[in-house]
Subunit: 435 residues, 2 copies
């Protein structure tokens, strides 16, 4: 294995390109960026030196909406009507999921995210204690939420409350600054107002985040209005779920007033363009309204079964192109804003720092190959990163100063892939045996 | 260099996966698939053996609409209104293009296409004799058209006719079965009916293809109706340009009758989803109408300045997702049809064989990494290829039985990238000096 991956200590990235200039980046033992510039090397006595020539440094990417362990369901079923896909394919398989599956699937998802430049993610699923173990092993950051679904049933709600409290206690007990916990009320169509209210109060009391699906489909909006007399964002707001600690995924069918409401409450809207296109939700997130209102808009891949990958570099292209196409404006969401979405906006959402390459920020750093085909010619690095490259251009990934990948090598990759394949096969076998 | 790349002769791909079965593929000295199956190895005494374990074989991809040398303009200007982008950025730069630039840019484009699994492409640009030299050097197949633009001026038309005739004579003189020539009337808004008629007659006389842009924007349709009293497809038909040898790019704004007309004439419609989204053309190709009419629908990346890459694996995902989103149907353009678009439909369009892995077909073969993250788990290879993978999963590429890439190694890659970067820099410098 490359010794740069196994070494620990302070670190210097020498002669790397940032915004067209060649600089050094010094990272101290705590994993904080200590200096950036031509003289940065003088500020530390680096234990590790990474050659930054032919490399472009960008902040580590942040995936603000996924269901990581669903990597095991990649390609299991596609090209179906949403309801058939869920009821005939996804749910019957998920009924057989074990904690071991979630560990294998989350570890595999972390591998995929690291290989495409992601350092932190916002996750919602089940067996999240095992997801935490996987994140810990892989050295990434994550905010983990148990998917809270009460379907309006009090008994189920009590069980979900317990599951949520158990996860929060577990993650707190880990005392790992890279791993955070959030409350995960699934959506207004799967959680009762009572459940939503409990989630909001508990999140406030615990000072933790809220991770929720919002206005993914038109049906969600229509049903919500029919049932509660108000649109989903207003229902969430009534229940106290719209806070600066809230990440609302999808947000396709928000109207303009709801966009203003999200901005006023400090909510982050997570754009998930590939999933929205694949599932044909028939409307792209109104980014222009959210932007005009000053909302924080971040980027997410959604789970592997509705994307079908976790490559946030690719997702930036889908975001920038979908916004242009859906809202009929070739100038909407230019490359620089797409990168901001995938970095700083995500970091703000998850509270993992500024999400920029600045002194004092956590050293969450991605090095892209400046000699890659997709980076040639190199007129505008932002344009190439968004429109031409995918995760394959990512060469090195640092999270809090620790090297998770170097020259595309991630420790244990073969074993992680093999175990994910075995877990997926076993899951399908068990589901078929029982049917 | 890997000896499998330099070796010449008959070839065996041993133990490779096709449609879930493990088989051998035997390729004879002429580059034709001689046998496929468990006993294929017995049919030839192979000079070269490629280990197919952990590899999935698919037909080589065919890119049916691009402007290859525009790889030099990748990322030069983005996120602009189409007319500003062309008049302020692209055209001023193109005015300084030389034959050497086109050679460097096309060779670089070939490298990018090979690295993402493309074996053949349909090109339209200038200095196409130099493009032919690049294609020859790189071992790919291409159909080359000079972009014919008369703007209604007779003098210009005469010059375009001469340029077209010169290119046709040049390509014929090469006598290279991998390199074909076509007539390239740019579009109904840049070529007069007289010019279109000449193109159609000359193509018929020479028995060569026609490569044209069709109904990319609403403005094109509106202007055509105002000027000629008919929609673009009907104007092209009146001029004789709709033939089984015709590839019409974009086709976003076709109405249902035009889709039937294209099908009746045997025209191939080339879908270019990423370009259409990036330039915000406001309507996706009506694939459902073309499919219902029985038209041949293929896939293309368009040029690098409006995509911004030539990765047809990525383009399959854009096609499958854009169709679902734009026409509000999660079942439209399933994975298998996206692969058909990128392989067999393209091969039919360019006359390069069936575009399938079948005995007697040219050995245009791509080997994908079955152990890649994007191919794990491997429930459905088609789904993974379209929705999860990009060109990075392509390990080996054969064109007419010749190995163009093996284990991601392409001969001369570093030099080709370096020369493209230098050519792009020099082009911009010359343009700036003259402004």
């Amino acid at each position: 294995m490359n010794e740069i991956i196994t070494a620990r200590g302070s670190l210097l990235i020498a002669g790397v390109t940032i915004d067209g200039a060649t600089v050094d980046i010094a990272v101290d033992e705590k994993g904080t960026i200590a200096a950036i510039g031509k003289d940065a090397k003088k500020t530390i006595d680096a234990d590790i030196v990474i050659d930054g020539s032919d490399r472009i440094a960008v902040p580590g990417l942040v995936n603000t909406h996924t269901h990581a362990a669903m990597s095991l369901l990649r390609g299991y079923a596609d090209d179906m009507i949403l309801q058939d896909w869920l009821s005939q394919k996804i749910w019957p398989l998920e009924a057989h999921l074990t904690g071991d599956d979630v560990y294998a699937g989350t570890r595999f998802a972390c591998l995929e995210m690291i290989k495409s430049g992601t350092v932190a993610f916002n996750d919602m699923y089940f067996f999240m204690d095992r997801a935490a173990a996987a994140v810990d092993d892989m050295g990434m950051r994550a905010t983990l939420a148990y998917g809270f679904i009460d379907l309006g049933m009090e008994e189920k709600r009590e069980a979900e409350i317990k599951a949520t409290e158990t996860l929060v206690a577990h993650v707190r007990s880990l005392d790992n600054p890279r791993i955070r916990v959030a409350v995960g009320p699934h959506s207004v169509y799967t959680v009762s107002p009572e459940g939503l209210r409990w989630c909001a109060e508990y999140a406030a009391e615990q000072e933790i985040g809220i991770h929720v699906h919002l206005s993914e489909t038109e049906k969600e909006v229509v049903d919500c209005v029919a049932r509660f007399g108000k649109r989903p964002a207003y229902l969430l707001d009534d229940c106290g779920c719209l806070t600066p600690r809230t990440v609302a995924a999808h947000c396709c069918w928000l109207d303009e007033a709801e966009c203003r409401l999200l901005a006023e409450r400090g909510v982050t809207a997570s754009h998930n363009p590939a999933s929205n296109m694949k599932l044909a939700v028939n409307r792209a997130m109104p980014y222009h309204w959210l932007k005009a209102a000053g909302a924080n808009v971040s980027l997410g891949t959604d789970g592997c079964s509705s994307n079908n990958n976790l490559d946030l570099m690719e997702e930036m292209k889908f975001a920038a192109l979908l916004q242009k196409f859906a809202w009929n404006s070739p100038t909407l969401l230019p490359a620089g804003e797409a990168i901001e979405m995938a970095t700083a906006a995500g970091a703000r959402a998850l509270g993992t720092g500024p999400g920029t390459l600045t002194v004092g920020a956590p050293a969450d750093i991605v090095l892209l190959d400046a000699r890659a085909v997709c980076n040639t010619p190199l007129f505008h690095a932002d344009s190439n990163a968004v429109y031409a490259c995918n995760g394959g251009a990512v060469m090195t990934v640092l999270c809090q100063g620790r090297v998770l990948m170097h020259e595309r090598e991630v420790p244990g990759e073969e074993e992680i892939v093999r175990e994910a394949a075995a877990a997926a096969r076993s899951l399908v076998d068990r589901a078929q045996d029982s049917s």
